[in-house]
Amino acid sequence: MIANIPYIAVAGLIIIGLYAVLFRKNLIKIVIGITIIESGVNLFLITLGYREGSIAPIYTSSPGGIMSLPVPQALTLTSIVIGVAVLALMLSLIVQIYRHSQTLDVRDLGGDDQ
């Protein structure tokens, strides 16, 4: 059970982010929750590619030994950049919503939904 701590940390991050998306009524707090979910998914991708007692997969003056897998690290790089791009688009939409309706509360926007 002690050997599975990174996977429990990933589950904790996703649960905290999901709580922020479901139960908060300010638009900026919802966006912060989405970012925390993305951080949890990136951590999960990196911990899948670790070998016991290995070093980074770089050959310049390396001390020798087994190396960890490079392909999950490349996929995490792509995921981080896409997360930044989606965050920029969400924040500019929030600026435009505030100009139009003068409020950031989710209950006052939208139609007549209760």
């Binding site: 980074a56 770089i58 930044v84 600026v95």
Partner: protein
């Protein structure tokens, strides 16, 4: 947006070239040390945002318009695509490393199996193209947001 005080402007002017040189070093040595196009591009973009915050967006917007920066970003994307299409024109497949082994630009043959800065093939050129794209993209996002929110404040006042 109004700029900050005289001390902040002086220190930002001194540290801006140091941040640019460090970011370009991370981009150029992407095939030898940890780093590459995306990481170095983020470092240089944060140096440019330092200058934007210190001097104020209204002064910066008289010097640089967003149309110039979008030309830079399109140049980076077109360079990346043309390096990928070069594999079709000279070799067999899309995205082959067609400069490796030939003694042309970055493709000297490595001696004794290890690589140095000149043996990357098309990888350093792709690093430059992607780095230019990321620098222009991240800086234009912050510049457009800063200028748009300060316009609204001037309209209300």
């Amino acid at each position: 947006m109004i700029g900050m005080s005289k001390i902040v402007k002086t220190i930002a002017n001194i540290s801006f070239p140091l941040v640019i040189i460090y970011g370009l070093y991370v981009i150029a040595h992407g095939h030898l040390t940890p780093g590459g196009g995306f990481q170095g591009g983020a470092v240089v973009a944060s140096g440019c945002v330092l200058i934007l915050v210190a001097h104020g967006s209204s002064w910066i917007f008289t010097k640089i318009k967003e149309s110039h920066l979008s030309i830079l970003e399109s140049l980076g994307a077109l360079g990346f695509i043309s390096l990928a299409l070069g594999g079709i024109f000279t070799g067999t497949m899309f995205f082959t490393n067609f400069l490796k082994g030939t003694n042309f630009l970055f493709g000297t043959i490595p001696t004794s199996g290890a690589a140095n800065i000149n043996t990357g093939g098309t990888i350093p050129l792709m690093n430059f193209a992607v780095g230019l794209k990321v620098i222009a993209g991240l800086f234009v996002i912050v510049l457009v947001m800063a200028y748009a929110t300060s316009q609204k404040q001037e309209e209300e006042a």
